[in-house]
């Protein structure tokens, strides 16, 4: 197989309510930042993938609102519905398909414009489940309870994730919620759905992210240092919670295994230098790390406590602050990719980690991590 690289990234600031910007305004900003980052003009882009959701956008054919602002007019284009990591995956295959060389991928969302509880309630089966009234938070609380029951972890263990990620965000200029908080602050915040308190949950956010993926034949043609895509994979678990082992995530373990195998990674604990993952809720950072083989099952909290995942630790996790510090749904996974790219290039500024050669970016679709997408990126080809 040919290789491809990410040669430009652009992120808007993640904010609680971008009242002065439309979807297209956000896309315009992120796309132009990515083009400038890559040293390209829109004429250097030969195809465009937008990532959006008709539910989150409150609009059928939601890609219609951003295609032109993403430079897709008169170009070959398509739209993935789901997390940005999946949109980027499709963009990657297009760059390798022989049809195109440079794919621009965007992902946008404005959580501020909708009621997330109703939108995530629409993800439940309409016949058997939806009328019972669960949403993403109450569903994830169910997963958190299953996880705690299996591992013996306590809410205080999960709260440490919130402390770390909000703290990391203090150094990230695009983060929405930089905060210096303590475990006690988390434990005193409003209980929304046991065991998840307000500071265990990611916020409602607006934002757009763009990345440019290039085929190896053109990856070094532009000014930016390419970050190589070494491995990537995605996988979907059962839909009904009662069919899954909710305390685990089999599909993430599978996606990670396949991504490592493609990247030739034998020991991810040693070979991965930085991780940006989909921490929509505190417990997820721990569970996802464990399923990706970056900690033993049930043991990520111990490593976290020991500083292992801190920005200056052996394996920095979410140095950007992650989703807990800003969660524009759909765009969130694409932000993870862009953040890892910045880290590997050494361009992450105040939240730059040391010695980052190989990085992992992760995105999620569906309820309680039903479907995962894992990317392994590398400074070297």
């Amino acid at each position: 197989m040919d290789k491809a690289a990410i040669i430009g990234v652009g992120m808007t600031k993640i904010e609680a309510n971008k009242q002065r910007e439309t979807f297209a305004d956000m896309a315009w900003e992120a796309v132009n930042k990515a083009l400038a980052d890559a040293g390209m003009t829109i004429d250097d882009i030969d195809n465009v993938i937008t990532t959006s959701s008709d539910f989150w956008d409150g609009r059928t054919i939601s890609c219609m609102a951003v295609a032109d602002a993403s430079g897709a007019a008169d170009k070959n284009t398509s739209c993935v519905e789901g997390d940005g990591t999946f949109g980027a995956f499709y963009g990657y295959t297009r760059a390798l398909s022989g049809s195109y060389k440079t794919t621009l991928v965007t992902g946008h969302s404005k959580g501020s414009q909708c009621v997330s509880s109703l939108i995530t309630n629409s993800s439940f089966d309409p016949i058997y489940e939806r009328g019972l009234g669960m949403d993403m938070i109450t569903a994830c609380a169910m997963q958190a309870n299953a996880y705690m029951d299996r591992t013996g972890l306590k809410p205080e263990d999960m709260a440490m994730v919130s402390v770390k990620n909000h703290g990391n965000a203090l150094k990230n200029p695009v983060a929405q919620l930089p905060m210096k908080i303590s475990v006690d602050d988390v434990m005193k915040s409003e209980m929304i759905a046991d065991p998840l308190r307000k500071l265990d949950c990611s916020p409602v956010s607006d934002g757009c992210c763009a990345v440019i993926i290039a085929h190896e034949s053109v990856a070094t043609k532009f000014k930016q240092q390419p970050v190589w895509i070494r491995g990537l994979s995605f996988c979907t678990d059962h839909f009904f919670f009662g069919d899954r082992d909710l305390a685990r995530s089999k599909s993430l373990a599978e996606a990670a295994k396949n991504a490592y195998s493609m990247a030739g990674i034998k020991d991810p604990k040693k070979e991965i230098d930085v991780v940006e993952l989909y921490d929509a809720f505190t417990y997820q950072e721990l569970l996802w790390l464990e399923e990706m083989g970056l900690a033993e099952y049930g043991k990520a909290a111990d490593l976290l406590k020991a500083g292992h995942f801190n920005m200056d630790g052996p394996l920095p996790v979410n140095p950007s602050g992650g989703l807990l510090a800003g969660h524009p749904v759909i765009a969130a996974g694409l932000y993870r990719i862009a953040e890892v790219v910045m880290q590997l290039r050494g361009d992450a500024g105040a939240h730059q980690v040391k010695k980052a050669k190989t990085g992992l970016a992760h995105g999620v679709n569906g309820l309680c991590g039903q479907s995962h997408c894992v990317w392994i990126l590398d400074k070297e080809r």
């Binding site: 890609c63 897709a72 993800s123 309409p126 979907t236």
Partner: protein
């Protein structure tokens, strides 16, 4: 190195106005099972799944996740593409690139819709900009009427010319057991049917349908082993330009012109009218049957009515269009573009039974949607160079 890609199996439901006997996942499963049988493959042989529909027709968020019991996606890569009416064709183009990239050997592509479960026009109306277009422009038919009026004014066609297209497609549909409307109509019946949006009559437009379609694509390493005559994908193109309704060139489908020019150029097709043997066009209403073959470059502007009156696009004519009966006979929206692709593939593979056009070397399938968007694929019997 990029891989060449072929369609090796297709499956469809027997499309109907209502399918109360199955839910969405079960409807999807019927098409998937038929495609697996057609390709003589098992679910375990499939490397990845692409699925799509239009969310607000069923009101189900994350359909890729919800549908795994029917799609076979448990513990497989599943991805969702949604581009409005073009969804089915966008899925086919997506499957092509995913296989061509070398990432996947065999992919299963699923388009579906249960249009009986909601208010189709109510949902479509939400496609338009909430602050500008949505408040003044409703549903799909108003845009199509604007196009038809523009075309008639510019090129002197009339509603009788369009009715001839409906007559053709409804006649063709009698050969297709999967089509929803399998009864012939006459010119007089079309023209006497209720006026929906001037100049469009009821029998000029597509129905609402429950249906699903599945297509299996494979790379060149295995395609020839799976079936004796694979349908090779020669090229794909898509144009989804637009922000506001006033941006359209009403009376011409510029997206179709751009896609076809790109495909003819990529593949060295010089005279599409002579070189293409059959077209399966996403033609949601009869006037499109006139306008869009002009924009495709089959005939010159203003020449389609005569070309069609002369029987050239009928079965047995120079270039049959919509042997399946097309969209006027059947329209499960998220599946519709993929049905065009599957029908074109069946023509190339020689599997189209009563609707088979003889000796098909090249076939074209298209998707239409969004705001005057086009997706297009060129299918061929010969493996591309």
């Amino acid at each position: 190195m990029a891989k060449r890609v072929a369609i090796v199996g297709t499956g469809q439901t027997f499309h109907k106005s209502h399918r109360p006997d199955v839910n969405g996942q079960e409807l999807i499963n019927e098409a998937v099972q038929r495609a697996l049988v057609d390709a003589n493959l098992k679910m375990k042989d499939i490397s990845a799944i692409l699925i799509g529909n239009m969310d607000h027709f069923e009101g189900i968020n994350y359909v890729d996740c919800w549908s795994v019991d029917g799609s076979g996606g448990v513990m497989k890569p599943v991805i969702k593409l949604t581009t409005g009416g073009t969804t089915g064709a966008s899925l086919a183009i997506g499957g092509y690139h995913m296989v061509a990239s070398g990432m996947f050997e065999k992919v299963l592509i699923i388009g579906w819709e249960k249009n009986s479960e909601s208010d189709t026009t109510g949902a479509i109306t939400t496609a338009f900009d909430p602050i500008w277009d949505r408040q003044v422009f409703a549903g799909a038919i108003s845009g199509l009427a604007a196009e038809a009026q523009g075309y008639m004014a510019r090129f002197g066609a009339c509603d009788r010319d369009a009715a001839r297209v409906s007559v053709r497609d409804r006649k063709h549909a009698t050969n297709n057991p999967h089509a929803q409307l399998r009864k012939e109509v006459t010119l007089e019946e079309v023209l006497a049917s209720p006026m929906l949006a001037d100049p469009i009559h009821l029998l000029d437009v597509c129905p609402r349908t429950d249906g699903a379609c599945a297509v299996i694509m494979a790379n060149e390493d295995v395609a020839g082993k799976i079936c004796s005559v694979p349908d090779w994908i020669w090229a794909t193109a898509a144009r989804h330009s637009y922000t506001y309704l006033g941006d359209g060139d009403w009376g011409r489908l510029t997206s179709m012109e751009k896609c076809s020019k790109e495909i003819w150029k990529k593949t060295g097709i010089k005279e599409p009218r002579k070189e293409i043997d059959v077209i399966e066009m996403y033609q949601p209403y009869s006037f499109a049957g006139l306008i869009w073959i002009e924009d495709m470059g089959i005939v010159g502007h203003g020449e389609a009515p005569q070309y069609i009156w002369d029987g050239n696009t009928d079965m047995g004519g120079e270039l049959p269009v919509n042997p399946s009966g097309g969209v006027i006979a059947c329209n499960p929206i998220g599946a519709t573009g993929l049905i065009r692709c599957a029908e074109a593939a069946m023509q190339v593979m020689g599997k189209a039974d009563a609707r088979q056009v003889p000796d098909v070397n090249f076939a074209v399938s298209t998707g239409f949607g969004g705001c005057m968007w086009t997706d297009m694929l060129l299918h061929g019997k010969k493996k591309p160079n």
